[in-house]
C-alpha cells in the first residue's frame, strides 16, 4: 500500500507524540476520574500505534498484542478502575506531594533526560519505529514521577499501569514487541496486580479511614 509506505512511520510518530502528551497531561491532572479517562485514551493510542506498526512491518504477532491491548487496557482495566472508585466512593481531588507546576518542570527535565539517553540506542536500532524510543522512555519516567508525587493509592496504581503502557510501547519501538507469550504473561500480571491492589485499597481504607499511603510509612500505631 503506497499510502502506508509513505505515511505509516509518520503516523506512528504522531501516535508516540500523543502518548507523551497524554502522559504529561496525567501528571497535571487533579481529578481521579479524568486520570482514568486519560489512561483509557492512552490504551486506545497504544492500540492504534501497535496496529500501525503491524501494518507497516507485516508482523502478524503484533495484531495479537494489539487485540490484547484493546481488550485489557481499553476495556477491562478502565472498567475495573471505574468499579473500584465507585465502590470506594473516591472522586475527590488528588493530593500531590509536590505542587503541580514544579512537577511539570521536573517532568520536562525527565523528558530531556530520556531523549538524550535514547538517542545513542536509537542510532543502533534498525526498526522503522526507532525514533519513538525516546518518547517511550519519557512516558515511562513521567508515569514513574506521577507514582512518586501522588499520596493517594488510586493515582499511584494508575501511574503504575501507565508505566506498563510506556514499557509496552518501548518494546514495540525498539524490537517490534516482545514474544507473545511474554506479553500475555505481563498482561495477566498487570490484571492480577490491579485486582490485588483493589483488595489492598479496601484494606487500607478499613484500617486508616483513608486511602492516603503516607499512613503506611508509620510502623507503630499511635
Amino acid at each position: 500500500m503506497p499510502f502506508l509506505a509513505h505515511y505509516g512511520t509518520q503516523l506512528i510518530n504522531l501516535c508516540a507524540a500523543v502518548l507523551l502528551l497524554l502522559a504529561f497531561t496525567m501528571l497535571t491532572q487533579r481529578r481521579i476520574l479524568s486520570l482514568i479517562h486519560l489512561y483509557t485514551a492512552q490504551g486506545l493510542v497504544l492500540f492504534a500505534s501497535t496496529v500501525l506498526v503491524a501494518l507497516v512491518t507485516g508482523q502478524a504477532e503484533l495484531y495479537k498484542s494489539a487485540a490484547l491491548t484493546l481488550a485489557l487496557k481499553v476495556l477491562a482495566l478502565p472498567w475495573l478502575l471505574h468499579f473500584l472508585i465507585r465502590r470506594l466512593n473516591v472522586k475527590w481531588d488528588v493530593e500531590t506531594l509536590i505542587n503541580i507546576p514544579t512537577t511539570m518542570l521536573i517532568g520536562i527535565v525527565l523528558v530531556i533526560l530520556a531523549f538524550n539517553l535514547a538517542a545513542p540506542i536509537s542510532r543502533l536500532a534498525g526498526t522503522v519505529t526507532r525514533a519513538t524510543l525516546g518518547i517511550a522512555m519519557a512516558s515511562i519516567l513521567l508515569s514513574f514521577l506521577m507514582m512518586i508525587t501522588r499520596s493517594k493509592a488510586v493515582p499511584q496504581v494508575i501511574g503504575f499501569l501507565s508505566m506498563e503502557n510506556g514499557l509496552f510501547f518501548a518494546a514495540t519501538a525498539a524490537v517490534y514487541g516482545m514474544p507473545f507469550v511474554f506479553e500475555f504473561g505481563i498482561a495477566f500480571d498487570v490484571l492480577v496486580a490491579v485486582l490485588i491492589m483493589g483488595v489492598f485499597f479496601f484494606q487500607i481504607r478499613e484500617r486508616f479511614d483513608s486511602l492516603d499511603t503516607r499512613h503506611l510509612e508509620r510502623l507503630k500505631e499511635h
Binding site: 509518520q10 510518530n13 504522531l14 504529561f24 497535571t28 507546576p101 520536562i108 523528558v111 525514533a131
Partner: protein, 317 residues
C-alpha cells in the same frame, strides 16, 4: 512593479476583510454558544448592531481622564489591525510580511495589551486597576508560550516569517508533524487566555470578582467603547487566523495567484466557521477557573510548547 501592485491589492483586501469580518466571527461564536445552551441567541449580526449603536452615542469622560485614555482605543485598534494584516489569511504574497515576522506580531499584540492596561489604570478606579493587573498577569505568562509555539513552526520551516511558514506547511509535500500536535494544544490554551474566554475569563460577565477584560474597559463609552469592542473582535479574528495559518494552512493561495486568492475566501470562511463552533464547544464544556489557577493553566501551555520543540528535535530533526 506589477507583482508588488498585486501584492498591495492582496494586502489591502486581507486587511479590509479582517476588519469587516471580525465582528461577524464574534457573533458566530456567541450564536453557537447560545445554540449549545438551548437558547435562540441574539443573531449573527448583533456585534454590528452593537457597534452601530455605540458609534451614535455620546462619550462620557471622567474629569481626570488623560489624553492617553482618549487615544488608547485608536492605538489598540491600530495595533490589532496591523497584526491582522501580517497574518496570511488568503494569500502569502504580502508586502508587509517582509517588514514584520511572527516575533513582531507577538510584539504588536503586547503593545495593544500595554495600552489597554494603561487606559484601564488611567482614570484610577479600583476595577480598572484590578483588571489591568490581572491582564498583565495573564499576558506575561501567555506571551512566552505563544512565542514557543511560533518557534516550533519556525523550526519546521526554517523561518520566522508567517508567510514562509504557511508556504512550507501548505504547498510542499504533506508531512505529519507530531510537534505541531503539542503546539496546537498549547496554542489553544494561550488563545483562550488571551481572548478572555471561559476557562480564564468570562466575556459575558460583569461580576467584579471574576472579570479581567471587562474590568479594564468599564470606564469607556460611546465610540471609544465601540473601538475597544471592535478591537477585541479583531483580536479573536487574529488569533483564529494565526491558528489556522499554523495548523490548518490548506487553501491559502501561494504568492501572486489571483484565482487561488478568490478560492481561498470560501475556504477561510468555512475554516473560521468550524473554528468558531469549536471555540463555543470548549467554552460550554469547561468551567471558569479561579484566577489563581490561571498561572498553572498557562504554565502547562508553556511547557507543552517546550515539549513541542523537544519532540521536533527528536522526531523531525
Amino acid at each position: 512593479m506589477n507583482a508588488s501592485l498585486s501584492g498591495l491589492a492582496a494586502q489591502f483586501t486581507e486587511l479590509a476583510l479582517a476588519v469587516l469580518l471580525a465582528p461577524l466571527l464574534t457573533g458566530w461564536v456567541n450564536q453557537c454558544r447560545a445554540w449549545l445552551q438551548n437558547k435562540s441567541g441574539p443573531g449573527l449580526l448583533q456585534p454590528y448592531r452593537l457597534l452601530g449603536k455605540l458609534f451614535q452615542k455620546e462619550i462620557v469622560l471622567a474629569t481626570n481622564a488623560s489624553p492617553l485614555f482618549r487615544a488608547a482605543p485608536y492605538l489598540i485598534f491600530g495595533c490589532l489591525a496591523l497584526a491582522a494584516a501580517i497574518v496570511p489569511t488568503l494569500g502569502t504574497d504580502l508586502p508587509l510580511n517582509a517588514a514584520a515576522d511572527a516575533i513582531a506580531l507577538v510584539g504588536l499584540l503586547a503593545l495593544a495589551r500595554l495600552f489597554i492596561s494603561l487606559a484601564g489604570m488611567d482614570v484610577g478606579t479600583a476595577f480598572g486597576t484590578l483588571g489591568a493587573r490581572r491582564e498583565m498577569l495573564v499576558g506575561f505568562l501567555a506571551e512566552p508560550a505563544l512565542l514557543m509555539v511560533l518557534f516550533t513552526a519556525s523550526l519546521i520551516s526554517q523561518s520566522t516569517s508567517l508567510a514562509t511558514i504557511v508556504e512550507t506547511l501548505a504547498h510542499r509535500d504533506f508531512v505529519i508533524y507530531p510537534s505541531l500536535a503539542f503546539a496546537g494544544v498549547a496554542f489553544t490554551m494561550v488563545s483562550l487566555a488571551e481572548n478572555a474566554r471561559i476557562p480564564v475569563d468570562n466575556p459575558a460577565t460583569h461580576l467584579e470578582l471574576t472579570m479581567i477584560h471587562e474590568a479594564m474597559i468599564l470606564e469607556y463609552s460611546g465610540r471609544h467603547l465601540a473601538m475597544v469592542e471592535w478591537a477585541a473582535s479583531l483580536k479573536l479574528f487574529v488569533y483564529s487566523c494565526m491558528g489556522l495559518a499554523l495548523f490548518f494552512p490548506w487553501g491559502v493561495a501561494g504568492g501572486g495567484d489571483w484565482l487561488g486568492i478568490v478560492l481561498a475566501l470560501p475556504a477561510l470562511l468555512a475554516k473560521l466557521a468550524v473554528g468558531g463552533a469549536a471555540l463555543a464547544l470548549i467554552e460550554i464544556v469547561s468551567a471558569k477557573m479561579r484566577i489563581f489557577r490561571a498561572p498553572e493553566f498557562l504554565g502547562t501551555a508553556f511547557l507543552l510548547a517546550v515539549l513541542a520543540l523537544l519532540v521536533h528535535v527528536l522526531l523531525e530533526g
